[in-house]
């Protein structure tokens, strides 16, 4: 059974369309669920609202909550003008997210290896633990990818 995001993420409004590295997620879904948590959640806002979580010793650790960083190594750059949210680790971009319209967000770059997750992608393709996704359209469930 899928865990509702709202159970552990507050103030989250789903996007109608989320494009992650050329893969389109329609209807409020998110990219990936690993066991019982979602490492990356993108929500609707004037700029993309991002939650970033990892699991350590069976505890879910919030690294970024609604664009607010709880880890000194993670820097969140917000631009209302460009409608972007950019997350950096030591000046390297690990997430570049931009609102295209009111209900549509595009992530053109992702690299979660610095936080211990093998998820890398650019505007052409997305690689998750060696699996490649490109140009797919997903709708109808809460998560595009599941891992046990």
């Amino acid at each position: 059974m899928e865990t509702a995001l709202s159970n552990y993420i507050q103030n989250y409004s789903p996007l109608e369309e989320l494009i992650i590295c050329s893969n389109k997620i329609i209807g409020g879904g998110q990219l990936i669920k690993i066991q019982d948590y979602s490492p990356l959640v993108v929500g609707r806002g004037e700029i993309p609202l991002i939650w970033l979580n990892v699991k350590n010793n069976n505890k879910i650790i919030e690294l970024i909550k609604e664009n607010k960083s709880f880890n000194s190594n993670l820097n969140v750059e917000k631009s209302i003008t460009n409608r972007t949210t950019i997350i950096k680790v030591n000046n390297s971009i690990i997430i570049h997210a931009k609102m295209r319209e009111e209900n549509s967000c595009i992530i053109s770059k992702i690299d979660l290896r610095p936080i211990g997750l093998d998820i890398v992608g650019d505007s052409q393709k997305l690689k998750i633990a060696g699996n490649t996704l490109s140009g797919n359209t997903f709708s109808g469930a809460q998560y595009l990818i599941g891992m046990e």
Partner: protein, 125 residues
């Protein structure tokens, strides 16, 4: 390893592989979000018996130094008197100090609750 290109997908795709790798940044714990009220309790929320035990500890240390000094003085110079009541004073202050410590330990306070919450959050035994 699997490749998904230009597909219409309508249910969660379960994939294999090793997703967890060694992070390059330090990830330990979620920060403990301390409210101003809690911070105030941690700084100023000590129980009366806690403050009293601190005072009694000071008295006990002072009396002990005094008694030891007089005892040594008495050994060197018999004119320096060394009275029994001084030893009793040391013992009584020590006894009162321990009583306060025990009472303070068993009385629940907001400060203790917050400190226990913080310890529990950071898995501190």
């Amino acid at each position: 390893m699997t490749t998904f290109n230009n597909k219409e997908i309508h249910q969660t795709v379960y994939i294999n592989g090793k997703i967890n790798i060694n992070p390059s940044i330090t990830i330990l714990h979620t920060p403990y979000l301390l409210e101003k009220y809690d911070f105030d309790k941690v700084i100023n929320g000590k129980h009366f018996f806690s403050d009293l035990s601190t005072v009694l500890k000071g008295i006990w240390i002072g009396l002990t130094i005094n008694t030891v000094a007089k005892f040594i003085g008495n050994l060197v110079d018999k004119n320096i008197s060394f009275d029994k009541w001084e030893v009793y004073a040391v013992l009584i202050s020590l006894f009162c100090y321990f009583i306060c410590l025990i009472i303070e330990r068993f009385i629940p306070t907001e400060r203790k609750r917050i400190i226990n919450d913080i310890k529990s959050h950071f898995n501190i035994k």
